[in-house]
């Protein structure tokens, strides 16, 4: 738990007036606000620090205590504890110390775009002022806002993403059962309305945004709703034609190979690709790319026959 220099964070000196603090806060908040820096965790972290610094320095009472105990906050904590002990033993000397009066969410709800635990104060702040912050005097405007949005990531395999299935997510200690529709894409974000942080001053709850990460599959590569695969083809089937078995998402299918199929030929299996997101019964295509495998470790007899073929070809 390191000492945090709130003056340094806001870039003001210790004699700064309230107006200078307000101006410095707004300047920095405009630069690092999560609304203006979506998906930027660094900016979000920085914004938390700026908010925390402003929370203390814009409140004359908190600022006084911070100036008094700031650097030696550990002593302040011990001092507080001694005071509380004294209070408990009936001496009643001057009350509750640094505990804030409002709710944490009041402060937390003023921005969105968080990643779950954002908006919390540093442990330094909590040691000095208690876990619950009053949030008073920040801008003098007590408004209701919707709660902070939460961000979560969910990893799923390509095969799982091809079927509608249920998953249970734990967000902030709460289990949320979600149905993942078939066809979700890598990087796709799904919004669960009202599953974010509770709103401030009666405002609505924020939303939960889930980003899907789809892991690579050794068999298929996905592009949009189409799947691509490489399939080894033996020389004889490539030359003479025949029937082979292909793995698809819905099982194995038989595929006819034309005689004299060149290496690198791609053939399309219509409707055997990935399901189209939220369009039941619609599928992309599967593209099969043939990789002709040459026979190895030929016997003398085989070599002889190949020489004969060569002669025939060159004759």
């Amino acid at each position: 738990m390191d000492f945090i220099d709130y003056y340094k964070i806001l870039g003001v000196n210790k004699t700064a007036t309230q107006d200078q603090i307000k101006s410095a806060y707004r300047k920095l908040a405009r630069k690092h606000h999560p609304d203006l820096n979506p998906n930027d965790k660094e900016a979000h972290k920085k914004f938390q620090q700026i908010n925390e610094a402003n929370e203390v320095l814009s409140d004359p009472e908190k600022r006084k205590k911070y100036d008094q105990y700031g650097k030696d906050w550990q002593h302040a904590e011990a001092f507080e504890k001694a005071q509380q002990d004294a209070g408990r033993s009936g001496r009643q000397r001057g009350g509750g110390g640094f505990q804030g009066s409002g709710s944490f969410q009041e402060f937390n709800g003023n921005f969105d775009g968080g990643d779950g635990d954002d908006g919390e104060f540093s442990s330094f702040f909590e040691s000095l002022f208690g876990g619950a912050a009053g949030g008073s005097g920040r801008s003098g405007r007590r408004t209701s806002f919707r709660g902070q949005d939460y961000q979560a990531e969910l990893q799923t395999s390509l095969a799982d993403a091809a079927t509608t299935h249920q998953r249970v997510l734990t967000v902030n200690g709460k289990n949320i059962r979600i149905t993942i529709p078939a066809g979700v894409e890598n990087g796709q974000v799904i919004k669960l309305k009202g599953h974010g942080a509770p709103g401030a001053n009666g405002g609505p709850s924020g939303d939960l945004f889930i980003t899907f990460t789809i892991t690579e599959d050794p068999r298929w590569k996905r592009e949009g709703n189409d799947l691509y695969m490489k399939l080894p083809l033996d020389l004889y089937t490539a030359i003479l034609g025949g029937e082979i078995t292909v793995d698809t998402l819905s099982g194995k299918v038989k595929l006819k190979v034309k005689a004299e199929t060149p290496n690198g030929t791609t053939t399309r299996l219509k409707g055997k690709g990935f399901p189209v997101y939220k369009k039941e019964g619609e599928f992309g295509d599967l593209y099969v790319n043939f990789e002709i495998k040459l026979p190895v470790n030929l016997s003398e007899k085989e070599k002889e026959l190949f020489r004969e073929l060569e002669k025939l070809r060159k004759a």
Binding site: R26, A29, R30, H33, D35, L36, P38, N39, N110, F111, D112, S139, R141, R142, T143, S144, F145, R146, E185, N186, G187, E216, K221, R222, E223, G224, Y228, M229, K230, P262, G264, T265, T266, T267, R268, Y287, N289
Partner: protein, 107 residues
Amino acid sequence: MQPEELIPAGEFCAFHHVELSFIQNLHESGLIGMTVRDGVVFLPADDLPALEKFTRWFYELDINPEGIEALSHVLNRMERLTEENKVLRNRLRRFTNGGTAEPGEMV
């Protein structure tokens, strides 16, 4: 088609302690929708998250309406580019780590 859900602007203003002129300003900039029925101003419910965001920018960050308009355009553009980047990255995945692209492939 589902009917549009509307919220009385006065209710939003009272709840968030904002002035109606601010909302009208945003509407004139084309950032939010607005409907007037029998002299009462209504806001589309779908625009509320954006309106709350603009309210934060205006009141908490001191960004003026012109700044809000400019920022909103830039952020929308950034969002579109991020989406495009995602699609291209997914396409690139097919060509990397043993992808199946072959020059001159026949379909």
